[in-house]
């Protein structure tokens, strides 16, 4: 149990530190802060042009979605990247608890995603017409944190697929941008065709963003508990799927000797 906890905690932190580029401000600032900032501004102005909703709609949607920079890209690079750095074989040769091993890699990305999201909210407040009710801020913080965790569960699946695909970005890029389309980030689900909205409802972020919008608008936390519970359940379901996939790919790769095949 203690070993599993060590693999979860220390292993997770070390794997995050192994994203060497992300430790450098010259990389982190443009990618993890600059990109989200300009994404929020772009969609807020697009919203003004399209007359769909107000700035607050686009700020909340995009500020929550940008956590996928860490949740999706970070997980993809952490797990899928093991193959590129030739550390996958030694890693899977260890007797370490697999659940602790992979979930530990998710923890730093949840924290990172939350930081990116918080920066998005502050930028929206400073630069656009977004002024959330102060009374809703504690609940909003909790919902954003839980949504980041849920998104990272989905990122684990992307990372698992990265073990199979030649380039992990072939999966993570469309995943990130599809979220902009189907998760209610920029378009209300009611404006999408039924099948696209159904995909959005099965993905993380969708319910979290809806809850965050209501909280920013002054709704009490008790009124969004159902949405938050759904968001958490969806995140857990994706994390479970990722675990099954990772174990399956591990077994298959051992059987077919394709673990390091690029």
């Amino acid at each position: 149990m203690i070993n599993a906890a060590r693999v979860f905690g220390i292993g997770g932190v070390i794997s995050y530190r192994a994203l060497f580029n992300w430790q450098s401000p010259t990389y982190y600032v443009p990618t993890m802060l600059g990109h989200p900032l300009f994404q929020i501004l772009f969609f807020a102005y697009l919203g003004r042009f399209s007359h769909v909703r107000n700035d607050a709609f686009f700020v909340v949607g995009n500020a929550v979605q940008v956590s996928a920079m860490a949740g999706v890209y970070g997980m993809a690079m952490t797990i899928g990247g093991e193959r590129w750095t030739a550390t996958l074989s030694p890693l899977l040769a260890t007797p370490a608890n697999r659940l602790a091993l992979f979930l530990g890699r998710a923890l730093p990305q949840i924290v990172n995603g939350f930081v990116v999201s918080a920066f998005g909210f502050v930028s929206g407040w400073a630069l656009l017409d977004f002024h959330p009710k102060p009374s809703g801020l504690p609940a909003l913080t909790l919902v954003v944190a839980l949504t980041c965790a849920s998104c990272t569960g989905f990122g684990l699946v992307v990372g698992a697929l990265g073990l199979r695909f030649r380039d992990v970005f072939t999966i993570s890029n469309p995943a990130y941008f599809l979220m902009l389309l189907v998760c209610g980030v920029n378009i209300p689900l009611s404006a999408l065709p039924g099948w696209l909205a159904a995909i959005g409802r099965a993905l993380p972020l969708t319910h979290g963003i809806e809850a965050a919008r209501k909280l920013a608008d002054g709704t009490a936390f008790a009124d969004v508990q159902g949405l938050v519970a759904t968001e958490v359940a969806i995140g857990l379901a994706w994390a479970f799927l990722a675990y099954v996939m990772l174990r399956f790919f591990e077994e298959e790769s051992r059987r077919r000797a394709t673990l390091e095949l690029l």
Binding site: Y27, P30, F38, L181
Partner: protein
């Protein structure tokens, strides 16, 4: 002159083949613009702006051209560093700029996949009629814009020679340039201080020319600005590439990743 043209042609062809073999590059050039085209359709429909649907389709394709130029040109030096071909490239007899230009031109040309994909997507999936207002001008505007973006790509690639995390800047510059050049959102909605910035960015004029040729309007002033800026970029790129190449040689940092 013939040697330069031959070098440009052979370099462009080689890099087009190389980039077309890259699943990730093609996937990004096609899938991402299609997602943005779809997003714009539904957004404009929800906002009851049906007249803007061809505009959305066209704009998403133009945004894709900028994306492929940015990532291709921004990564041009890094890729050569990773592949170990940067030193032989720099050491080869032709000026470095003439070797790099076909590469950045090829990355801009790959953007044609984006434009084709979004126009066909709009036509066949959303039933948006594709009637070009000035077909001949459109046929001239698109390649002119591509060459122009290739020249801008050279400035970007040259500027990134000394910057180790060049791909991070590429990640950041996608949305702001879409915004500042009026790729999807009209410039009139942006604050006044942004306008002078948009005037010195050639995508502003390239997008404007292509859009005027397709939807209606006078494309020629914008095409003229494209030519002027293209020449200015060529001079700037020549200076930057020469300067950074010299510095990298002096500091022996050419191959450092």
């Amino acid at each position: 002159m013939i040697r330069i043209l031959r070098l440009t042609w052979v370099g462009w062809l080689l890099n087009m083949k190389s980039l077309t073999r890259s699943g990730l590059f093609i996937f990004t050039s096609v899938i991402e613009p299609l997602i943005f085209a779809t997003l714009s359709y539904y957004l404009f429909k929800a906002g009851h702006r049906p007249g803007t649907l061809l505009y959305a389709s066209l704009s998403a394709g133009l945004m894709g051209i900028w994306t492929s130029t940015l990532f291709g040109s921004g990564g041009v030096i890094s890729w050569q560093r990773w592949q170990g071909t940067l030193e032989p490239t720099v050491a080869s007899p032709p000026p470095l700029m003439l070797v790099l230009f076909p590469l950045t031109l090829a990355t801009a040309s790959i953007g044609l996949y984006s434009l084709t994909a979004t126009l066909l997507w709009g036509r066949f999936v959303f039933g948006i009629p594709l009637h070009l207002a000035h077909p001949a001008t459109f046929a001239l505007s698109v390649p002119l814009m591509i060459v122009n973006l290739g020249a801008l790509g050279l400035v970007i690639g040259g500027g990134f020679i000394l910057y180790r995390n060049a791909n991070a800047l590429s990640n950041m510059l996608e949305f702001p340039v879409w915004l500042v050049t009026g790729a999807l959102v009209p410039l009139s909605l942006l604050p006044g201080w942004v306008h002078p910035l948009s005037w010195i960015l050639s995508p502003t004029w390239g997008f404007r020319a292509v859009r005027a040729a397709a939807i209606g309007g006078d494309a020629w002033p914008a095409l003229g600005m494209c030519v002027v800026l293209g020449v200015a970029y060529a001079f700037l790129a020549s200076y930057l590439v020469g300067l950074f190449e010299f510095r990298a040689r002096v500091r022996a940092t050419l191959s450092l990743t």
